[in-house]
């Protein structure tokens, strides 16, 4: 039912929300009106975390478009390298490894880091089907093998998966003889870097420890 011209705007009712989902699904290639309804129905009945996982997967995939050819951070369109990698004042001998661009931006906002970054584009997450080979690790090894790098700081999140990812990166880089450090554990485990405030991030960087 559409609102009459000049009448009050339709209220955001429950059925309006369902309609929005059906319309969004119906715009996908090969999905007609009937299929869109069937899919919407399925998404409303399946376990809620499954539906949310789909939404997050779509968002994550779209987030990972256009990466810097050096560090895989997001770049402005038309640029092969991100603003940080292009900046001649950044210290290329220190690389800070993060899970995703959003963590990088949190560290940048803290303003206390003058090195460069490397974005893994994820973390070891076996239950979501993310294993070692899906992480952006090979190009990190290549950067370190280049010989310019003195220290690699592991700034993955203080969670089970983040810690396991840090350990994996450390093991992969160990034969290359570079110093490897981990952010200090002032950050409570289970949280996300992107929500830390400036002081916490500056402290964690300052107090980083050798692995």
């Amino acid at each position: 039912m559409s609102a009459l011209p000049g009448g009050p705007p339709p209220s955001p009712t429950a059925s309006g929300t369902v309609d929005r989902l059906v319309r969004a699904l119906g715009r996908l290639p090969g999905i007609g009106a009937k299929s869109a309804e069937r899919l919407a129905h399925h998404l409303l009945r399946c376990p809620v975390e499954e539906a949310i996982e789909l939404a997050e997967a779509v968002r994550a995939a779209r987030d990972q478009i256009r990466h810097c050819e050096v560090c895989a951070h997001l770049t402005e369109s038309g640029q092969a390298r991100c603003a940080i990698c292009r900046d001649p004042r950044r210290d290329r001998s220190v690389i800070c490894v993060v899970e995703q661009s959003r963590d990088l931006m949190a560290l940048e906002n803290a303003g206390s880091f003058g090195g460069t970054y490397h974005v893994l584009l994820g973390r070891l997450s076996p239950l979501q089907g993310v294993f070692e080979d899906q992480l952006n690790l090979k190009s990190l090894e290549e950067r370190v093998q280049g010989g310019e790098v003195r220290e690699v700081i592991l700034a993955t999140n203080p969670t089970l998966e983040g810690d396991a990812t840090a350990r994996l990166v450390a093991d992969r880089l160990a034969p290359l003889g570079v110093a490897i450090t981990r952010l200090a554990r002032g950050l409570a485990s289970g949280g996300s870097l992107e929500f830390a405030n400036k002081e916490m991030l500056a402290d964690a960087l300052q107090g980083r420890q050798r692995l």
Partner: protein, 247 residues
């Protein structure tokens, strides 16, 4: 609306909205539940370093019958398993435990003994020698606790002893729930042939006491047990578990 306090193992965690998480929890008192933890991703979250994947927390849940998601109001970390972050093989084992609890159990169907078995298993996954046996022991504990244990001693169809035909080898229905006698075997789908040693190892791994420790670090014995138990579980859940190739 009832508030319930229980111990819970986090078996799935999905970030939602800005700072929250939707968790699948395997709880001691309520079995599997889904719960919303508002603000859990903040470093100063209301949940005090709890709620990380594969950690055990002491939680308080608000259960509303009308809603699919319970609301988590408190969580304090009770136990976390450091070894899972040191060694990817241990991590994969721990994730397999979570995957099985999620796939094999029903919501709100509590099995406190299975919860306890999960904790014991997670606690010792850092030891590479006992790890493969420990994971098998956990799988068999799951099957027994949930009433899905394959018959090991008598034919699953007629109840007679299987009376081995080729030496000590016995037919075993992977989809039909255990040992088959020669009379009942014809026409059964997905039948494997197990040696007496393999059956004996499965019995030991499924029994209380220390007999299962004889299988530690014995890949020759564990190989056929691994493929048998993996096949039984795959048939039960209708697909191969994602982590099965890694354990």
């Amino acid at each position: 609306m009832a508030a319930i306090r229980t111990l819970a193992l986090v078996i799935r965690s999905v970030d939602v909205f800005e700072t929250s998480r939707v968790l699948t929890l395997y709880t001691r008192e309520l079995g599997k539940v889904s719960a919303l933890a508002k603000g859990a991703r903040r470093l100063k979250s209301p949940f005090q370093s709890g709620l990380d994947l594969l950690s055990v927390c002491d939680i308080v849940l608000l259960h509303k019958a009308s809603e699919a998601l319970d609301l988590l109001t408190e969580a304090v970390l009770a136990e976390r398993y450091e070894a899972l972050t040191h060694d990817t093989a241990a991590l994969y084992g721990g994730c397999y435990v979570a995957e099985l609890l999620d796939a094999l159990t029903d919501r709100h169907d509590p099995h406190p003994r299975l919860f306890d078995a999960s904790r014991v298993t997670l606690r010792h996954l850092g030891d590479p020698v006992s790890r493969p046996s420990r994971i098998l022991r956990f799988e068999l504990a799951c099957l027994r606790e949930l009433g899905l244990m394959p018959a090991l001693d008598t034919c699953v169809h007629c109840g007679q002893p299987p009376s081995p035909t080729e030496g000590d080898r016995v037919a075993f229905g992977l989809a039909t729930g255990g040992v088959l006698c020669p009379g009942c075997r014809p026409g059964q789908p997905h039948v494997a042939t197990l040696s007496g040693d393999t059956l004996e190892a499965i019995r030991a791994l499924a029994s209380p006491g220390d007999a299962w420790k004889a299988t530690w670090g014995d890949p020759e014995t564990l190989g056929p047990v691994r493929s048998t138990v993996g096949a039984v579980i795959s048939h039960l859940i209708g697909r191969r578990p994602r982590l099965l190739p890694f354990v």
